[in-house]
Point group: C2
Chain length 346, copies 2
């Protein structure tokens, strides 16, 4: 049997564990897997583009477990009351090829993206960073805020969105989060005095969310929104002044902020920092930039975390995605053709 | 909600429709999709190889629907009482990126492979072909036999397997199939007088299941077993004497029987025959060879067929693989963090 975790059970699991504890646990799994990065098979994601969006398959494997995520990106969905991004994923046993776990990943992707951002900021932001600016208050924004609360010293948020409805939703959701949140009328105001700047806008276009003059020395930039060709948030000047950290360089050069830079623009692979092979921030004056686009290992870690989290609980259900014939070569016998079809239930 | 069809419900659906009617209906969907082949996005399958086997993702899209199949191939699984090949698939709406149907595809792949074989034989075998040899009586064999019964005039089988247990299983499963089945002690005996030869052995190696001298003029060969690099069943001489028909040439040149031939070995794309653009068999003396490796469009057709088949029935279940927030940007609200965690069920 394959274990199934739908959105209802994933939300139950998060409530049961507690959101901040869940994010810390998830970040631990992501960190463990980044630290053994060379063990992973890095397969480019497989994208199917259409006029309305993209559907992607993102697989990876560490030789013992295999995972893939299905994820779509359809910017116009919101207008129809649907989500821009939905996702699900599967974790499998490499030795047998059998799937073990099928999980929703719409919520889980938001959780793992936020956990990754906060985990990386812990290595790159100035020690004692307490004030974070957030520009863009869409679906991902509260997850980011809560991950920084769970994993870092950030306790004050200065936030901005051009859409008042998005801002209202954010303020409502953060009302009981234990953080000081100030809604700012401009992004320039939001970044003023911030130790960390998180950009997380959703427009699928080359947009300047942060211009060069908005970024002072010592700031850490968590650039989450720019994650596909043609979609960026930072003025190139910022990238030139800072040190840029990435997940998989080949992918980030196509999808991240550095798509604006020459092919040989220097970057540091974040796994090397987390594994202790390279320094993160080297001075309080550095501008550090995490050019985050999301990579399959983070989904692998998230599925691994969910699998361990639901083990022995009722936060999952068995589904008959696999057959279990008595004789593995007798697939035909599973059709039970000579059984009367009466009253079978699922 | 996403519709879910597990192995139990897929078997129920097949029994409800009737196996032969199911295979004919499925072949109709496969044929319809082959006829509009140029509309499909042909994406190479994405394989993750390990010492014990391979896990593949096979996506395709016609611009309105997107499908992918997850399928593994682990030859050693049988020894552990597990299946060599298991599969599942998803059908999605291209316009929104939302998954519509999740279905088991272990049974469904066997059904679609057999339906494709019989559909193609109907175009390529000599009219009035009644006798089929089958070499290899593993998991796929009964499905092949029943698809030929459902779609062609084949009524007599001459079958062989080196493993007596596999042969016994086949004879048992075919006892009430309405076909004359003769178990032969050798493959040479099995092919004697056959109009059609189906090779469907499972050894993952360059094996000579059919040698040149076993194949007389006028025969149609349905070569199903050879489907990955290093795994072939036919002596190259047979390929030189015959006309070879394939699904996607780029894929078949790597995975099919023609991996033994030069890169420019002439082949005919089977969709062109089914669409009426090229002739199939042109004389009663032709040796026609369907070098079948399986392609993603066949899975697409199968998922489409299952989706239509379960519509309005109880052969499927709704699962919460997707979220449905009131406000699509309020993903965080789905966590219901302020709800007491009590007595929720899945």
């Amino acid at each position: 049997m394959v274990q199934y975790v739908g959105t209802t059970n994933l939300a139950r699991l998060v409530r049961h564990v507690g959101l901040e504890a869940f994010l810390r646990g998830l970040a631990g799994y992501i960190e463990d897997d980044f630290r053994r990065w060379p063990q992973f098979e890095k397969i480019p994601r497989l994208a199917s583009h259409s006029a309305s969006g993209v559907i992607e398959l993102m697989p990876t494997s560490d030789g013992a477990l295999y995972a893939f995520k299905y994820v779509n990106g359809h910017p116009c969905n919101t207008a129809a009351g649907l989500q821009t991004v939905t996702a699900f994923g599967v974790l499998s046993d490499v030795a047998t090829g059998y799937p073990l776990l099928l999980s929703e990943m719409t919520l889980l992707t938001a959780l793992r993206t936020a956990a990754t951002s906060a985990l990386v900021a812990r290595s790159l932001a100035r020690r004692g960073s307490r004030v974070m600016a957030m520009i863009g208050l869409g679906a991902q924004s509260e997850f980011q805020a809560m991950a920084f609360r769970a994993l870092t010293d950030v306790r004050r948020l200065q936030v901005h969105d051009t859409d008042p409805a998005a801002a209202r939703k954010f303020m409502r959701n953060m009302a009981r989060a234990g953080m000081e949140v100030t809604l700012m009328p401009t992004s320039t105001g939001a970044v003023m005095g911030a130790d960390i700047i998180t950009t997380i806008t959703a427009d699928k276009q080359q947009a300047t969310v942060l211009s060069d003059n908005m970024v002072g020395p010592g700031v850490h930039i968590n650039a989450v929104g720019g994650d596909c060709p043609g979609k960026t948030e930072l003025q190139p000047g910022i990238l030139s002044r800072g040190r840029v950290f990435v997940e998989l360089p080949e992918q980030t050069r196509v999808e991240g902020e550095i798509q604006q830079m020459p092919d040989d623009f220097p970057v540091t692979e974040i796994w090397r920092v987390l594994a202790g092979h390279e320094p993160g921030r080297v001075s309080d004056h550095d501008i550090t930039i995490f050019d985050s686009v999301g990579f399959a290992t983070e989904d692998f870690s998230a599925l691994r975390y969910v699998r361990d989290g639901v083990a022995g609980t009722d936060f999952c259900a068995d589904i008959d995605l696999l057959t279990a014939p008595r004789d593995p070569r007798d697939l035909f016998g599973l059709l039970d053709l000579h059984e009367p079809e009466a009253g079978n239930s699922i």
